[in-house]
């Protein structure tokens, strides 16, 4: 860590400013060449400029050495690969009759698509993620383990250690959270007042759609981070079952994120995160980067889930039967079942649109026998279950932390475990509740209403069990930050969950669909089910990872700034939604009288962002000045806390054995694991 604190910082900051200026204005200039209008404040250019700035920052801070890092190599190769793929496609097109090579954004659209794919693969090859596999194919053997460099460098290189990968995931997730949040702040500022202020309509739509998808990818990486770090530790395994696939799953998400953001430079897209055709067929080339980016990120989910399920099934410690697994492991398995299978459907849906745009296969063109509704079915077959992917690990964290802080067993452990599976499995058959107004088969709306409402039952079981856990527990006086976030998570998720059934009954949904009520609903569920528990997890396991404890005072400021403003934000959204505020509009009718509401919502959005900024400051300060703590900070029974922090390379030097129940706090003489 200390490398980051040396004067490199100063160099880094200077390079950051330089990179930002160069990146944004360079892109604005390229745009000038293409469109003959020069706009130095173009939002897209600035966003991509900030990507360049991040790179120059690290280059400046780390000096020459940085270019040896896998991350930098990978990005360089992705750039070259994109060019190579693009030129290859243009060359092939030049051979065909009646094809004009090159287009508005330099390459023509097919060339961009091929370039994007080749670029992503080049990233992986260039970073060195595929090296071992190439060797295996050639029949060479490779060492079982790789040695990671010391210090911060290991986080920028290809490591096979699940703990390093977990941190890499989490860091990337926070970076994307900042991007997504920044987009939200931009368009929220635009919405503060009716009329168009400083964004144009297409940029608004692009920011809004990217906000959605970048946040979703951020969540996927965030849960992958927590699961990667924790699950092997909880199982007592030295690593995941397939460390190389694990590294692959993480690294493929990096070019995916770059692709997603690069859609801004290629004209953006105006479809929102759902990317419905036929609108998507008319969107600028940017939508292709969006599709390809999500498609690539999907492989990260699929392979990560595969790895996790195998690890849980094969690598449990001695004595760890199904109902003695930590509850978080149950949640992780349930989540992974969804990611493993359903993700293929969004991949397919996007693939079909990509092919329709590039090759003209008319899957969604009604005039040629296509069906736009088909896309929605394929899309939601993934995108509904995925909302449970977001929350199950979060709810697992809640269930994991409550007993530790309340010193009381988890009430109804088995019921909570089965509820995770139940939510995941039932969640597979409810997807069409997003399509109640779409003109789908009339008759099927009712069974989908039933199945959707059924999800309330296992979710309810979780809530009731938490309540019973909390009931009569000795709740600590000082309220440690992780516990605060757990309580807020329960509360906010309750708000989100209870706003679900009105969407599920068809006739009320016909009023609610595509309004800010839905926007309020899903921000509550995602924050309550993911963001709040995720922060709880960060505060809770930070001492395990870095052997330093985050500052409590800043933590509490973070909490008390974030929670009320966030709750106000979403309840306000629900209110104006009910009154007639449509979603995905850049401007609204002043006659509706929403101006004041929107202004308040924008202010609360800024407060939420400020609280996250405080969290970042806390992390930075702690890493720099924090006192080392190596012990069982929270007095937990869980195995990872029974050994000193930080964890050594292959976790436990001797395998442990499970001899009791995981959450028997307060039961005299009981232990969970024998080290």
């Amino acid at each position: 860590m200390n490398r980051l604190t040396q004067p490199g910082w100063v160099r880094g900051l200077l390079s950051l400013v330089f990179g930002l200026a160069l990146g944004s204005q360079g892109l604005a200039f390229l745009q000038f060449l293409a469109t003959k209008t020069y706009n130095p404040f173009d939002v897209g250019s600035w966003v991509l400029g900030s990507v360049v700035a991040a790179l120059t920052f690290f280059a400046g801070a780390g000096g020459k050495k940085v270019f040896h890092l896998a991350l930098m190599r990978g990005l360089g190769w992705q750039f070259l690969g994109t060019l190579a793929g693009g030129f290859l496609a243009e060359f092939l097109r030049a051979l065909l009759p009646d094809m004009e090579p090159f287009g508005k954004f330099g390459f023509s659209e097919p060339a961009w698509v091929l370039g994007a794919i080749v670029g992503a693969v080049s990233f992986l090859a260039g970073a060195g993620v595929l090296t071992d596999w190439f060797k295996w194919a050639k029949g060479e053997s490779t060492p079982e383990h790789h040695h990671d460099p010391d210090g911060w460098e290991k986080y920028f290189g290809v490591s096979l250690d699940h703990k390093v990968i977990g941190v890499q995931y989490t860091f990337t997730s926070l970076l994307l959270l900042s991007y997504g949040g920044l987009f939200a702040l931009l368009f929220r500022t635009e919405l503060a007042k009716s009329g168009m202020q400083f964004l144009d309509l297409n940029v608004y739509n692009t920011l809004m759609g990217l906000h959605g998808m970048v946040m979703i990818v951020s969540i996927l990486l965030g849960i992958a981070g927590v699961m990667n770090y924790l699950v092997p530790l909880l199982l007592g395994a030295p690593d995941m079952a397939f460390p190389r696939i694990n590294a692959f799953s993480f690294w493929i998400a990096v070019p995916a994120a770059v692709l997603l953001l690069s859609s801004m430079a290629l004209g953006g897209f105006d479809t929102g995160w759902t990317g419905y055709p036929p609108l998507a067929l008319r969107a600028p080339v940017g939508i292709q980067m969006f599709y390809v980016g999500v498609w690539v990120a999907g492989w990260s989910s699929i392979l990560g889930a595969l790895n996790l399920i195998v690890s849980v099934l094969r690598l449990r410690a001695k004595g760890m039967t199904a109902f003695k697994m930590p509850i978080f492991v149950w949640a992780a398995v349930a989540t992974s079942i969804i990611s493993l299978t359903a993700t293929q459907m969004i991949g397919l849906a996007f693939q079909l649109v990509i092919f329709q745009r590039v090759v003209g296969m008319p899957f969604f063109d009604a005039a040629k026998g296509g069906n736009p509704i088909l896309f929605q079915h394929l899309f939601w077959f993934y995108s509904h279950p995925v909302v449970y992917v977001f929350i199950l690990p979060g709810l697992g964290i809640i269930s994991e932390l409550l007993p530790v802080f309340l010193r009381k067993p988890l009430f109804g452990y088995k019921w909570i475990a089965m509820s995770s599976l139940a939510i995941a499995l039932v969640g597979f058959l409810v997807w069409a509740h997003h399509m109640f107004a779409s003109g789908m088969n009339e008759y099927l709306r009712v069974p989908f209403m039933y199945s959707t409402l059924l999800v309330a039952v296992p979710t309810g079981v979780k809530f009731f069990s938490w309540v019973a856990t909390i009931w009569q527990a000795k709740i600590p006086r000082d309220m440690p930050t992780p516990l605060l976030f757990v309580f807020a998570g329960i509360f906010v998720f309750l708000l989100g969950g209870l706003s679900g059934p009105p969407n599920a009954t068809v006739s009320t949904d016909l009023h609610l669909t595509d309004t800010y009520f839905i926007v309020g609903h899903f921000h509550d569920t995602m924050f309550g089910g993911y963001v709040f528990p995720f922060f709880a997890a960060l505060y809770y396991w930070f001492p395990k990872v870095f052997a330093k404890r985050l500052d409590e005072k800043l933590g509490k400021i973070h909490f008390w700034l974030m929670t009320p403003s966030f709750i106000f934000l979403t309840l306000g959204m629900m209110k104006i939604g009910l009154l007639g505020m449509r979603r995905r509009i850049a401007d609204y009718d002043p006659a509706l009288g929403f101006d004041i509401w929107h202004l308040l919502l924008t202010i609360s959005a800024y407060l939420v962002a400020a609280s996250v900024l405080i969290f970042f400051i806390n992390v930075y300060k702690t890493l720099k000045n924090g006192e080392p703590v190596t012990g069982n900070v929270w007095n937990s029974r869980s195995p990872e806390w029974q050994v000193p922090s930080p964890m050594p390379a292959y976790n436990y030097d001797r395998p442990f054995e499970v001899v009791g129940e995981p959450y028997d706090y307060g039961v005299p003489g009981s232990t969970y694991v024998k080290m």
Partner: protein, 343 residues
């Protein structure tokens, strides 16, 4: 016995908080006025939902808050809480009861859906075309309108379709929403029951100007409606007669209305998403690359066929759909003839 006291206390508190939450929500002015018979049914279901929400909100929040207040750890106490593991009958109860509840709610929901879908065979049928980014209402009398006039207390059946992308028909005061899907006709049944002016607001993201895709709805008395129909029919006939005099421009005007050019181009010099057509023909048009061209037949034709090729200064390139490139030469000639007539 000590516990009984606590259970009684939270039971009372839950009841209290449920009622207060419910009252708070129904008095928070959450809904626009009800302007259709369907809205009345839907709001009934909303009210039921609010009751459930209030109850379950209280059921979860009250015991947690109560524990925080009452069972807080004494300062200096470092012992563990009393270990209560699990209680299977209780778990079964709070699985089965919500299960029964949601099945019942599903049944209520289906019943409610059936009510709002109930078809009146005598419903007035109007065709609706939604396109980027305008609504057009085609009345059975053979004219179209930008405003949806509806007689009060009669069911209407809107037959909706779109030539381009998905849109969604929503009048918040009617509650019901229905997507408009290219390549098929979707139905929207509503029985307006309150006089007044409302707006259709497109509720499905349909591209750049989705935010502005609104159209007025007027619910008027039967007599007013009949009068309006008569007026419109007369105007339509007069127009037909006028265009009979200059048949090409007349056909052009029809195309102007039916193709949707009207959505963006005005004929009276006022602004819009695209430049006005008034006085366009023969004028010098300043383009965004700094040059200027004369708006002759060739230029106009290419502007229609390839809107992206030359962009008029201060307008967004690509805002005009490229989907008009399949117009025939004859249709384009008619359109240009119509532009010529707009001096």
């Amino acid at each position: 016995m000590r516990n009984l006291k606590h259970y009684l206390a939270i039971a009372v508190l839950i009841a209290l908080v449920s009622v207060l939450t419910y009252l708070g929500m129904v008095n928070a002015n959450l809904f626009p006025v009800e302007a259709s018979a369907q809205a009345v049914d839907i709001d009934w279901l909303f009210n039921l939902q609010i009751k459930l929400i209030a109850f379950f909100f209280a059921l979860i929040v009250v015991p947690i808050a109560y524990s925080m207040a009452v069972f807080r750890r004494e300062t200096g106490d470092t012992s563990d809480s009393e270990p209560i593991e699990s209680n299977t009958p209780l778990e079964i109860a709070w699985t089965i009861l919500p299960l029964i509840l949601v099945v019942w709610l599903g049944y209520i929901g289906a019943d409610n859906l059936a009510k709002i879908n109930a078809a009146d065979p005598g419903a007035l049928e109007i065709n609706v075309v939604a396109f980027q980014w305008k609504w057009r209402f085609d009345y059975p009398q053979g004219f179209s309108s930008d405003t949806l006039y509806l007689p009060v207390d009669q069911q209407v059946l809107l037959k909706m379709t779109s030539p381009d992308v998905l849109h969604s028909f929503w009048v918040p005061e009617f509650r019901v929403k229905q997507d408009v899907v290219p390549g098929r006709v979707t139905d929207y049944r509503i029985t307006p029951n309150r006089l007044g002016d409302y707006k259709v607001r497109c509720a499905e993201l349909c591209g750049t100007s989705h935010a502005y895709m609104e159209a007025p709805v007027k619910i008027v008395s039967r007599a007013e409606y009949d009068q309006w129909i008569a007026d419109q029919t007369a105007i339509a006939q007069a127009n037909a007669a006028a265009s009979a005099a200059n048949p090409d421009a007349g056909r052009g005007q029809k195309l102007y209305e039916s193709l949707g050019c009207k959505a963006c181009h005005s004929t009276d010099g006022s602004g819009g998403i695209g430049p006005t057509w008034k006085g366009l023909y023969g004028s010098a048009v300043a383009l965004s690359d700094g040059t200027s061209v004369s708006a002759d037949d060739a230029y106009l034709k290419s502007s229609i066929l390839e809107p992206g090729a030359q962009t008029v200064a201060s307008y967004t390139a690509g805002a005009m759909p490229a989907s008009f490139s399949n117009l025939t030469d004859g249709q384009i000639a008619d359109l240009i003839e119509f532009m010529k007539s707009l001096k």
